[in-house]
Symmetry: C2
Subunit: 237 residues, 2 copies
């Protein structure tokens, strides 16, 4: 395993669009922003855990939760600001080998998933690593059949999976990222690209109120395990 210096970056804006103020909204007993902070701090692999936000009040609140506060310029906090631009601004100011972006929109991420991601990072030499969800299901791209012929039904466990990127966890090699950005290339998927599959139920997005409720329900289900012992319908012989 490589002895990389890793830092965590948790991007947060106060001006979330579809779910207002979602980063400070409580999901069960913690505000949303506390989930990635706790996750990254508990992991123990990060030399520093940063919240990257334009908001000083939010930044200071995160400091109380144990994170450091990187204040990005206001122009990098609009709906138009891109991931590559705010990450570049962040990386120029913080030395490391890799930055791992831990997204607050994935409160259902498990500690062991982040551990696996970090291990995968350290065992390899990628320029960028995306978390993906792997689907063993027949996939279409428009009318094109991606991973099946349609001539027969293959048991789903035998299908070659299709993987979709989820922005739960992303890692970039600092030096490559800066070099690509400064030469006008997009560093997001740049260089040698690794994929790390995370469990489907940890890939929740938080785009809508319903997503919020489902994530909250999933956390609740996990805590209470099976709610109760299974009960069955009675059948006559």
């Amino acid at each position: 395993m490589n002895d990389y210096k890793l830092i965590a970056m948790i991007p947060a804006r106060m001006g979330s669009r579809r779910i207002p103020k979602k980063n400070i909204r409580y999901m069960l007993d913690k505000p949303l922003i506390q989930y990635p902070i706790d996750l990254a701090l508990q992991n123990g692999s990060f030399a520093e855990v940063w919240v990257n936000t334009e908001s000083a009040p939010l930044g200071h609140a995160c400091e109380k939760l144990g994170a450091r506060f990187h204040q990005r310029p206001p122009e990098l906090s609009t709906d138009k600001a891109t991931n590559r631009d705010f990450t570049y601004e962040f990386l120029k100011k913080h030395e490391c080998d890799y930055v791992v972006m831990v997204n607050p929109t994935s409160p259902v991420l498990r500690p062991e998933t982040l551990e696996g991601f970090v291990r995968f990072l350290k065992e390899n030499d990628y320029d960028s690593i995306m978390s993906v969800v792997s689907y063993k299901a027949e996939a279409f791209f428009g009318d094109t059949l991606v991973n099946f012929t349609g001539e027969d039904k293959i048991p789903s466990e035998k299908l070659e999976p299709v993987e979709t990127v989820v922005w739960a966890l992303t890692a970039w090699k600092r030096e490559s990222f800066i070099r690509m950005q400064e030469s006008g290339r997009c560093p997001i998927f740049g260089g040698k690209l690794g994929r790390f599959a995370i469990p489907k139920d940890e890939a929740a997005d938080l785009d809508t109120e319903e997503d919020w409720n489902i994530a909250q329900a999933a956390l609740l289900a996990r805590r209470e395990e099976a709610f109760a012992a299974p009960r069955y319908m009675e059948l006559d012989e």
Copy 2:
């Protein structure tokens, strides 16, 4: 809209492998098998709503819930039995224009989704229709980039989606299905193939105990709406 005769078929085995006896297990206040029965009966488009099972006790219990009981032969109820074989056996015995397979492993399906599926069926002339989930996310098939180039990060709402088949709802034209099966071709994806996108949160599978808990939690979240009014973290100025 075409005036097709539609029948619903709900496949159910007593010998479910990974979650034992899942069809008769209670999810919240109803046994799992009752979800597709209620959904299909409430829809009102089906001339008949059948449960297709090898088990007479289960079949009779489903009759009490308002469904009809199609008893399939025991050799079509093993782990090895294929969808095409048990559907063929069913279709040979029941006249219709189309059969809609409503899968008990999708208790989170909403009535309006089934309504949309039936409308899509009636407005078209497909031989087979699959429910799919549409992912507006960068997709990989092995190392192949399916719907993006990696040269830039496209906002996800502008990505061409990748769609994966979920076996929540499937429809087949009876005549085409029987003809293909009898000529040795696989009818599952056969003929003119339609795709109907359903919401991601209705595509739950029930492969594991955790899937079960999540589906149960999602149903609960839907009933209780937001659990409570949103609460927010207090920030200092």
